[in-house]
């Protein structure tokens, strides 16, 4: 929902705290589930993720979630699905060049990022998403990847 997703960008700091606290719990729970029942619950988990993130962020289930690096604003709502925005067409009032009634997703993302603890993560280069992950659960994928490897990657990429 548009108003809720804008609320998330405005309150990105609080969302970041909740996100940082909850994501290890979610990911380890998923790891346990996977050990116990294998892939059997993947469909309901994906459904749940789509519902929760859909309501909160207008999540498009690209399967390559970068919310915490984009000011808690889902970049897939940008009509050009830019992952490193904004483009050069933002209107003077900060609205989107394509959809004049919508705030530019990247204006919200930038403002959101400024309020966050890891405010400079928005400067990381995000390569275009892997289209094979579209519609799949980013939670399940992340739970399979080692959390350590992910952190290291980020550190290598940040160029202040």
């Amino acid at each position: 929902m548009y108003s809720l997703r804008r609320f998330a960008s405005r309150h990105s700091r609080a969302y970041e705290t909740v996100y940082n606290a909850s994501s290890p719990i979610i990911l380890s729970t998923l790891r346990v589930i996977n050990k116990l029942v294998g892939e059997r619950l993947n469909t309901p988990i994906t459904w749940l993720e789509a519902k929760v993130k859909g309501v909160l962020f207008d999540c498009k289930m690209c399967g390559n979630c970068v919310l915490s690096s984009t000011g808690m604003t889902c970049p897939m709502n940008c009509p050009k699905t830019i992952r490193n925005g904004p483009c050069g067409g933002v209107r003077e009032n900060g609205n989107c060049e394509v959809n004049a009634d919508m705030k530019c997703v990247w204006v919200d993302a930038w403002d959101g990022a400024q309020k966050m603890q890891h405010s400079r993560e928005i400067e990381l280069i995000q390569f275009a998403p892997n289209q094979q992950h579209q519609g799949s659960s980013a939670w399940i994928r992340l739970s399979k990847e080692s959390a350590n490897i992910k952190l290291q990657d980020i550190e290598l990429e940040v160029k202040p």
Binding site: P79, I82, R83, G88, G89, E92, V107, I125, K159
Partner: protein
């Protein structure tokens, strides 16, 4: 390879690449001019709605002796025209130094990587990575927008192909495309504090030159440039300020309201309005802007955008004196 079958372009062909130079990424003249420390001038050609190569040459001729490189737009404004790869191939063939614009709107990563290789094989030495306008802006709004990559992912892609000699998939290239990579920046759109960071991100992704959107607001441009200098960005990339001629106050107003990202301050429009000959005044403003840009620390050149006024570009460049008497290469010079 059998020596007889090896292809050797004739030495006196102006389209032949320059000798390899270790400190250059391409064998093109545009990079050479910039690295030599000259103030460069570029302009852009509107690809014709035609299958006629002569039209391309006629349009390019207008810039002879005034421009170091010519951008070939890629379906600009999401309107259909001759492809930029074809325009660049035609121009390279007779020795011009075109800049291949690649927009992410119409092609996915498979098509784009193929184009980069093909263009480089035809002698194209410069590539400009753009995200592109949305299809809704152009004459085929019913088309499917692609946007598989964005400009920054595209820059990374070009750099991977050139420097690591491989496709994104990892598959090796027999010969890497030696292209000078660039992108654009609009210094005037919100959030303003983000502008220099966006510039930095593009340079981190591999941009070696940057052409800006139309600059009419000099204080805002200077402020971004100061930040860029402070961050050391102008040491890492050549920045060319975009300048343009405005045919009249009405054109300026139309541009400002209808073209996303064009920022024209009121005082420019008032100045045009007050002039007897608005067209001449528009050109005078352009000349002054070019001279002013040349004085700004960190600016390495200007990019003159004169859609439908291309025939005045050479005159404006001459008038401005920014080339300091240097004559850019052109066929027959």
């Amino acid at each position: 390879m059998n020596a007889e079958l090896e292809f050797h372009p004739p030495v006196d062909n102006p389209g032949s690449p320059l000798p390899e130079n270790d400190s250059h990424v391409s064998q093109g003249r545009f990079e050479q001019v910039l690295r030599a420390g000259h103030f460069a001038v570029t302009s852009e050609i509107a690809p014709p709605d035609s299958a006629d190569a002569d039209q391309v040459y006629q349009r390019a001729q207008l810039f002879d002796g005034a421009c170091d490189a010519i951008n070939a737009t890629d379906g600009s404004g999401a309107n259909c025209h001759m492809s930029s790869v074809a325009v660049c191939a035609l121009l390279s063939h007779v020795g011009y130094s075109p800049i291949l614009q690649i927009s992410c709107r119409d092609k996915n990563r498979i098509a784009i990587q193929g184009d980069v290789l093909g263009a480089a094989a035809m002698g194209v030495c410069n590539v400009l990575a753009l995200t592109g306008d949305d299809v809704s802006a152009g004459d085929h709004p019913e088309a499917k927008p692609v946007f598989d990559l964005d400009s920054i992912s595209l820059l990374s892609t070009i750099r991977i192909m050139r420097d690591e000699s491989r496709f994104l998939s990892g598959r090796k290239l027999d010969k890497a495309p030696k292209v000078f990579a660039g992108s654009t920046i609009n210094p005037f759109v919100p959030p303003i504090e983000n502008r220099v960071r966006q510039l930095q991100k593009k340079i981190n992704a591999g941009a070696e030159f940057i052409q800006t959107q139309y600059c009419f607001d000099m204080p805002a441009l200077k402020s971004m440039m100061q930040q860029a200098v402070d961050l050391g960005l102008t040491e890492r990339a050549f920045i060319l300020a975009g300048v343009g001629t405005l045919a009249s106050a009405n054109t300026a107003r139309w541009l400002r309201t209808n073209v996303p990202g064009v920022h024209i301050p009121d005082h420019i429009i008032e100045r045009l309005e007050g002039a007897k000959n608005q067209k001449a005044e528009g050109q005078k403003i352009c000349v002054e802007l070019m001279q002013e840009c040349k004085q700004i620390e960190g600016i390495s050149g200007v990019h003159v955008m004169a859609y439908r006024q291309e025939k005045y570009v050479a005159e404006i460049v001459k008038e401005s004196g920014v080339l300091d008497g240097r004559k850019p290469w052109a066929p027959g010079y």
